[in-house]
């Protein structure tokens, strides 16, 4: 392992990387240089080409043009092993760990010769312990990966890379799954790494992380580098502007006018949800903050009709609900923006028109068992123009649309029914900044039209920026509601981590 001469060369150099997928140019002549001890943030909306670029660097894809060199040596294309050997370590967004094996086994997997298996465990263990200490990566090497939290698993992934002598760490959206405290610890680790001469590239959507923890920002748009700046010379507004190509006004949402309670839950038990009590008021956005996997999906399913209360009471407009199904929820005026627009929200092989009436084909567009396709087409055309869906037309397969345009169609499908209650579960996940602003504006408009909006998001900025009232969910428990501005991010972080709940399972709230 050479420790790399720095200077103009850098430890990692991408030159003129171009990659096409059919007509789509995912990367268009991208060049960038990473220096020793540097943290480089790679920014860009979804589909800007960040992941493609990292996959080329790591040898998963072969670039059509351009070259990659590490420590001055050109890297042969298409060989992840060569990237590993050259000292490039990658932490994917979705971890690649063997759940049934121990942390130590996962870290050493593939680094030992077969006939030496079982030997050298002591040395390996000492080395992992040393790395854990040096980089602030606390994790029990003997624990089974399946028993670890998401944050711990990520530490194992980083240890895995360090154990293989990685000098360059690449992290793909590393904080997407972490609590604020865990994210802070991660950045602490990255600082320790750069202090030891390692270099880091991390991919992110979150401007505050980029501003707080990087030395250099590289912004990609439509597969091209649109800006490379030293972080200290820029600010969030300018980075956002570079990402979307225009200046974005800082989101400022006027508070809503609280109306009557449209939906109430009293001591509801359903799947992972424990004694949940919640009021959703018309004219108000209620935000639900929390780390993913703490019962958000169950709550969305409950209100959306996919799950019935096992215990407790659920009322809509004062009426107790019985026989709760998606169709009953739709009939009761519940609009649903699902978390996963590909798997749950749309049928990929169906046209935009077919997807536009997925929920209303029977109630609004059928006559005697036949679908009135002419009316469906008119309705879809109105949605496309009313909600600015960029597409070839109502007959195009929805699979071909970008995430933002797909979400706009779903938004239109739901809002056209003028729902009294609107559940927006991760409504802007994976969207570009422009689409995010649009979706948020529509949610606020629905609120102002009198809808009770439940906004579920793992992005605290989003929840705090839009909500009139915030609840925090942790292990299926719901915190009391906090009025807008009454709680800071740090306090919310504590609730997310499970502090503050009066445990013991009171039956009535």
């Amino acid at each position: 392992m050479s420790f790399g001469q720095d200077g103009a060369e850098g430890v990692l150099r991408l030159e003129g990387i171009t990659k096409r997928f059919g007509a789509l140019v995912a990367n268009d002549g991208i060049s960038l240089t990473l220096h020793r001890g540097e943290v480089l943030a790679l920014l860009g909306e979804n589909g800007a080409g960040k992941t493609t670029l990292m996959n080329i660097l790591f040898g998963h894809y072969v670039a059509d043009q351009g070259s990659v060199s590490v420590f001055g040596q050109p890297l042969p294309p298409g060989q992840p092993k060569a990237a590993l050997a050259a000292g490039v370590g990658m932490v994917h967004q979705h971890f690649t760990l063997a759940e049934q094996m121990s942390v130590l086994d996962n870290i050493t997997l593939g680094t030992q010769s077969l006939w030496r298996l079982g030997l050298g465990q002591g040395a390996a263990r000492a080395r992992v312990a040393q790395l854990s200490r040096d980089f602030g990566l606390a994790v029990d090497p003997m624990a089974r990966v399946a028993d670890l939290s998401v944050g711990e698993r990520q530490r194992v992934e980083i240890l895995k890379a360090l154990y293989r002598d990685a000098r360059i760490l690449i992290l793909d959206e590393p904080t997407a799954v972490l609590t604020p405290q865990e994210a802070e610890a991660l950045f602490q680790t990255l600082r320790l790494a750069t202090a030891r001469g390692l270099s880091v590239i991390f991919i992110s959507h979150k401007l505050h992380e980029v501003m707080g923890h990087s030395d250099t920002c590289v912004v990609l748009r439509h597969g091209r580098v649109v800006g490379q700046v030293a972080t200290r010379d820029t600010d969030r507004a300018r980075l956002a502007a570079m990402m979307v190509g225009g200046d974005l006004a800082e989101a400022s949402v006027a508070p809503g006018v609280a109306g009557p309670v449209r939906l109430s839950l009293r001591g509801v038990q359903a799947g992972p949800l424990r004694d949940v009590t919640l009021d959703l008021r018309g004219g108000q956005i209620t935000g639900l903050a929390g780390v993913s996997g703490n019962g958000q999906a169950a709550l969305a399913d409950l209100i959306g009709g996919m799950r019935a209360p096992e215990r407790g009471e659920m009322r809509i407009e004062g009426q107790a609900v019985t026989a709760w199904t998606p169709r009953a929820a739709l009939a009761a005026g519940v609009g649903r923006i699902p978390e996963d627009r590909h798997k749950t929200g749309t049928v990929g092989d169906f046209s935009l028109a077919e997807n536009a009436v997925l929920e209303t084909y029977a109630s609004r567009f059928a006559r005697g068992g036949f679908v009135d396709w002419a009316a469906v087409r008119r309705h879809t055309e109105a949605l496309i123009s009313g909600y600015d869906v960029r597409c070839p037309g109502p007959e195009a397969r929805i699979r071909l649309l970008s995430g933002g345009n797909m979400q706009k169609l779903i938004l239109g499908r739901v809002l056209e029914e003028a729902p009294g209650i609107l559940i927006a579960n991760q409504p802007v996940r994976g969207l570009d900044v422009g689409a995010i602003a649009y979706v948020h504006a529509q949610l606020v408009a629905a609120r102002d039209a009198g809808a009770a909006v439940l906004l579920i998001s793992e992005d605290l900025d989003e929840v705090m920026g839009l909500s009139d009232e915030i609840h925090v969910i942790s292990e299926g428990r719901l915190s009391p509601g906090f009025a807008r501005g009454s709680l800071g991010p740090a306090q919310i972080g504590l609730w997310m981590a499970g502090q503050g709940f009066s445990d013991g399972g009171a039956d009535a709230a």
Binding site: P326, K343, G345, L358, E359, Y361
Partner: protein, 347 residues
């Protein structure tokens, strides 16, 4: 060498690869003919002539296509909803049994045919209903249950033909008594050896196409098949859709049995179907599950069988070549479909 997905296959790919599949199939046929010691070109020519080369051959092909259209539609309807009905053979025999039961004197007059058709459909539907209820209630894999029903039904037919339904005048042959004349399907034109089952098969294909593209039920069937989760989330009655799909699929397969008994054989025997229920899967897959495409692919498959029969008599090459040609056609077509969606890149 590696494979990369193609987001939007162009027209050249969509036509080119299936065309290559057809050529490859012909190539396999010629190699097989050469192995059998015959002139490859002559063999292929005789298959074509035997299938469509004369009025008699053409009519025979249309007759042979009739049950295949019905079973192909049955499979296409079910597979479109991702309901894996491998039991069209059993449903076909259920239809045939009911047709014989009602057509040998229990009923008389012009009502026999429509009643036996409806009753046959009901029987086929019920045969598929059991496995589907097991699937939606208990999660039992319908591939296994519907497949095994084929064997149960084959044994049941043997029992009937040796027992309750045995023709007393049959000289000991395991066959049922013959249908009464009113229970037989008339020919589509005077002097034409083509019965009305073919016409009804065409009408059924159009009917299925209308159901799938124009009705709420068809919309639900396609949505359940294309994305079960989204269909459920959108509030579609998934269980009831699957049951209705099963009833339609089983009913269509049963019509194949009804048409074979009432239109061709005139009685029930254990060799009524040379695997029409299974060949229906090939027919449906070659048609990409499109109901109108089923008609085309059923004609193609029937033509290969009929043509191979004629060729065999003339050239002495075994008719097994037909099965092998169809198997090759299906494999190449599946491969061609996969290849339209990926490209091979070097590196």
């Amino acid at each position: 060498m590696r494979l990369e997905p193609v987001a939007q296959p162009g027209l050249a790919r969509q036509i080119g690869f299936p065309a290559l599949a057809l050529l490859a199939t012909l190539g396999v046929g010629m190699i097989l003919a050469a192995i059998a010691g015959a002139d490859p070109f002559a063999v292929l020519g005789q298959i074509v002539i035997g299938a469509v080369g004369s009025r008699l051959a053409l009519l025979e092909t249309l007759n042979r296509a009739t049950p295949l259209i019905f079973t192909g539609l049955a499979i296409a309807v079910a597979f479109r909803a991702k309901l894996w009905n491998i039991g069209a053979e059993a449903q076909l025999y259920a239809g045939a049994i009911v047709t014989v039961a009602l057509g040998t004197g229990v009923l008389g007059g012009p009502v026999v045919l429509p009643i036996s058709a409806l009753a046959a459909m009901l029987a086929g539907a019920l045969v598929l209903l059991g496995p589907v209820l097991l699937k939606v209630r208990l999660g039992v894999d319908e591939v296994v249950t519907t497949l095994l029903f084929n064997f149960i039904m084959a044994l049941f037919v043997s029992y009937l033909l040796e027992g309750p339904m045995k023709d007393p005048m049959g000289m000991g042959w395991p066959k049922s008594p013959a249908l009464i004349p009113e229970a037989r399907l008339p020919r589509m034109a005077e002097g034409l050896r083509l019965h009305w089952g073919f016409g009804l098969a065409l009408i059924s294909a159009v009917g299925v196409w209308v159901i799938q593209t124009r009705t709420t039920l068809g919309f639900e069937m396609r949505a359940v098949g294309a994305n079960l989760r989204a269909a459920r989330f959108a509030g579609m009655p998934v269980t009831s859709v699957l049951i209705k799909t099963a009833l339609l699929s089983g009913g269509l397969a049963a019509l194949a049995g009804w048409a074979q008994v009432a239109g061709v054989k005139g009685h029930l025997s254990a060799d009524l179907s040379p695997g029409f229920g299974y060949t229906g899967i090939i027919v449906a897959m070659l048609a990409l599950l499109h109901p109108l495409g089923v008609v085309v692919s059923a004609l193609f498959v029937a033509g290969v069988f009929v043509g191979a029969d004629a060729m065999s008599r003339a050239a002495g090459v075994p008719t097994y070549i037909a099965d092998m040609l169809l198997a090759a056609a299906l494999l190449f077509m599946v491969l061609a479909l996969a290849l339209t969606r990926v490209r091979v890149v070097r590196g």
